[in-house]
């Protein structure tokens, strides 16, 4: 894992003290809310329905046991004993007091963490594959590239006041486990003629105008990676729609200019920048790589004892193939039946931290599906691991099933929400678990957002649910056919919306259509793509 050097630590420590002073001045009345709001947002501090909310960055979703323990301690000491892991691979606390915020940031800084650039119109936390450095199918570990981009984008003066927020994702496999093409810039590390380089996809996003990022360059040599990214941002910074918040994301610029014209402008800017010394020396990337070197893997058993069916099910569902065949990556589900997706208590965080130290070379990852990964677990240790997870209510065997749904905080916490998301998630999970249908449905990605901002990725759900406000009453739109993976697509709305009870029935109905029409090994998404919307619509509205 990356370790801060003196510069990193100094920057973060200086920021804590700067914020402490700003918060003090706000509390003393020397700053108005209008003056203070941009300052607190630069440090991840929002005001939500019930209190302040603090969003902590977890760079490319990687953290160690000590950091997870620190997050647990903050939850217990300053919040109400829990935190919410998000689709941005971050953590949010819901009950923060302004008078405590600087102390929390100081506690985070002690373990090389912060909340910088987790809000505002800047380059946000870089996301990546949660199985990075472990997956059997990756070309290289994408994290050194993500770390290089993190360093470049942290406090980048030119990109501190962009037209709108900016999200970058880096992966290094053909399989996309990070919704790469739904980011402002998606980078896939690829190989061409034996050389490693970067493929750029620009202008994706969700929100009110979802777009899939088109590829604008199939190969950027590694010693031009940062320069190319900078060119992409510079064109956006110059021409992005600052006049209209709803049209200010780069996806609108790329869409309005057209991919070809946007690309032409980027290439022109890039050619102009190439000899200006923007690129960090290549040694910098080489310096970063050893931080992400493989731990010392040992030989061991390659199969598990399947005599306990509950354990066997969990192994089948919640483990992922590792590049060393004596290991797997294990997924810790934060989706217990009828639980709140992504929430973990301080005690659960400590359990996960300890298990990471015990079984996974002290590493954890946050998934965009709001679960946690132990990336390197010896197959021989799996049973012991599962036993302890189960005891902490962390052993749900449901990865990628309908019970593993994404749900944003919605109207229970979020000031922008139209409708609640979490109660839907709870009722659906309870219902499908009770009827035993989850198992039959196999891979089915259900994603719920409480408003059009799409924090819950509903556009990318095999089944998506969007909360809307219908004359002051919660109402839900259903959509089908989205995917955030390598077979990326945007979901289409089925038709008129539903009440809370109605949408739960509707989910049942569309899964029945699938089960009736399914051929062979088809997933829900495959069947939908083969038969189209009509049979689903018919069942829903006739």
């Amino acid at each position: 894992m990356y370790k801060y050097d003196n510069y990193d630590q100094q920057m973060v420590d200086a920021r804590v003290e700067e914020f402490r002073d700003q918060a003090r001045r706000r509390l003393e009345g020397k700053l108005t809310e209008d003056q203070f709001k941009p300052l607190r947002l630069m440090n991840g501090l929002y005001l939500q329905l019930h209190a302040y909310m603090l969003r902590v960055a977890i760079p490319y979703g990687t953290l160690n046991g000590e950091q997870m323990t620190a997050l647990a301690n903050i939850a217990d000491k300053y919040d109400r004993g829990y935190g919410h892991f998000t689709t941005r691979q971050n953590l949010q606390y819901n009950w923060i007091k302004l008078e405590d915020a600087a102390d929390i940031l100081a506690d985070l800084a002690k373990v090389e963490m912060h909340a910088i650039q987790t809000s505002g119109n800047c380059i946000r936390n870089i996301s990546s594959d949660h199985f990075a450095g472990a997956a059997q199918d990756e070309l290289v570990d994408p994290r050194p590239y993500a770390e290089l981009l993190r360093q470049w984008s942290s406090f980048h003066p030119e990109f501190t006041y962009l037209p709108r927020k900016f999200k970058i994702c880096v992966i290094a496999s053909e399989k996309d486990r990070a919704a790469m093409r739904l980011h402002d810039i998606g980078i896939q590390i690829v190989q061409q003629d034996g050389e490693i380089g970067a493929r750029f996809f620009v202008g994706g996003g969700m929100g009110r105008t979802p777009m899939i990022a088109p590829m604008i360059r199939d190969f950027v040599p590694l010693d031009q990676l940062i320069t190319y990214a900078e060119a992409c941002l510079r064109v956006y910074n110059r021409y992005g729609r600052r006049d209209n918040k709803y049209k200010a994301r780069i996806k609108i610029l790329v869409h309005e200019l057209g991919k070809d014209e946007y690309t032409r402008q980027v290439e022109e800017e890039f050619a102009h920048m190439l000899d200006q010394g923007v690129e960090p020396p290549r040694e910098e990337l080489e310096r970063l790589k050893p931080f992400f070197a493989d731990p010392t893997f040992e030989d061991g058993a390659k199969t598990v004892d399947r005599s306990d069916p509950d354990f066997a099910l969990w192994v089948d569902r919640n483990t992922h193939r590792h590049k060393n065949d004596a290991y797997v990556s294990a997924v810790i589900s934060l989706k217990p039946v009828a639980g709140i997706p992504g929430d973990a208590t301080g005690d659960q965080m400590r359990v996960m931290a300890n298990l990471a130290q015990q079984y996974s070379f002290d590493e954890l990852r946050i998934m965009h599906t709001q679960n946690v990964v132990l990336p390197h677990v010896k197959i021989a240790d799996l049973h012991a691991l599962w036993t302890q997870l189960d005891a902490a209510d962390l052993g749900a065997p449901n990865m990628d099933t309908i019970e593993d749904m994404i749900a944003c905080p919605g109207l229970d916490y979020c000031a922008l929400a139209n409708a609640r998301s979490i109660p839907l998630a709870q009722r659906i999970s309870e219902k499908f678990d009770a009827s035993g249908k989850t198992e039959k449905l196999g891979e089915l990605k259900l994603k719920i957002s409480g408003c059009i901002n799409a924090c819950g990725h509903h556009h990318a759900g095999h089944i998506g649910i969007l909360g809307v406000d219908k004359k002051g009453v919660e109402n839900y739109q259903l959509s089908l056919g989205g995917s955030e993976a390598e077979d990326v697509s945007l979901a289409k709305i089925t038709g008129p919306g539903f009440t809370e009870d109605g949408v739960i029935e509707a989910v049942e109905t569309v899964t029945d259509v699938y089960l009736a029409q399914k051929q062979g090994e088809e997933r829900f998404l495959d069947t939908y793509r083969r038969i189209g919307m009509a049979p689903f619509k018919e069942a829903l509205y006739d």
Binding site: R26, L27, G29, E33, L47, L49, H50, A51, Y52, R80, N94, W95, I96, K97, L98, E99, I340, L411, D412, Y413, A415, A417, R420, I422, P423, Q426, G472, V473, E474
Partner: protein, 98 residues
């Protein structure tokens, strides 16, 4: 009735204007009539509340009921965590939100 609400500057707690000060209980909320904007400006300047705003509400047999569901959620707490609401002994109170 018109009611004034906001979040406490220091703690972020949801608060309601009672006519003389701020309370965490929506049932203490006073009708501010036409004086909303004036009180709002004064209280914000005095830093007793952060981003206050004026809402419509109704006085019912069971107390004050904000017109919009968002403010009813604010008044009690997250509906999915009865233990963290203002009235954890009485989870049925959450039905009031809908």
């Amino acid at each position: 009735m018109k009611v004034l609400t906001g979040n406490d500057l220091k703690t972020g707690d949801v608060t309601w204007w009672t006519g003389t000060s701020w309370s965490r209980d929506v049932n203490d909320a006073a009708d501010v009539g036409e004086r909303g904007a004036e009180i709002l400006a004064r209280e914000e300047a005095a830093r007793r509340v952060n981003v206050p705003y004026l809402i419509e509400a109704e006085r019912t047999e069971n107390g004050v009921r904000p017109a919009h569901i968002k403010d009813r959620v604010r008044a009690v707490g997250p509906t999915v965590r009865p233990d963290l609401t203002l009235n954890p002994q009485n989870p049925e109170a959450l039905d009031w939100v809908i």
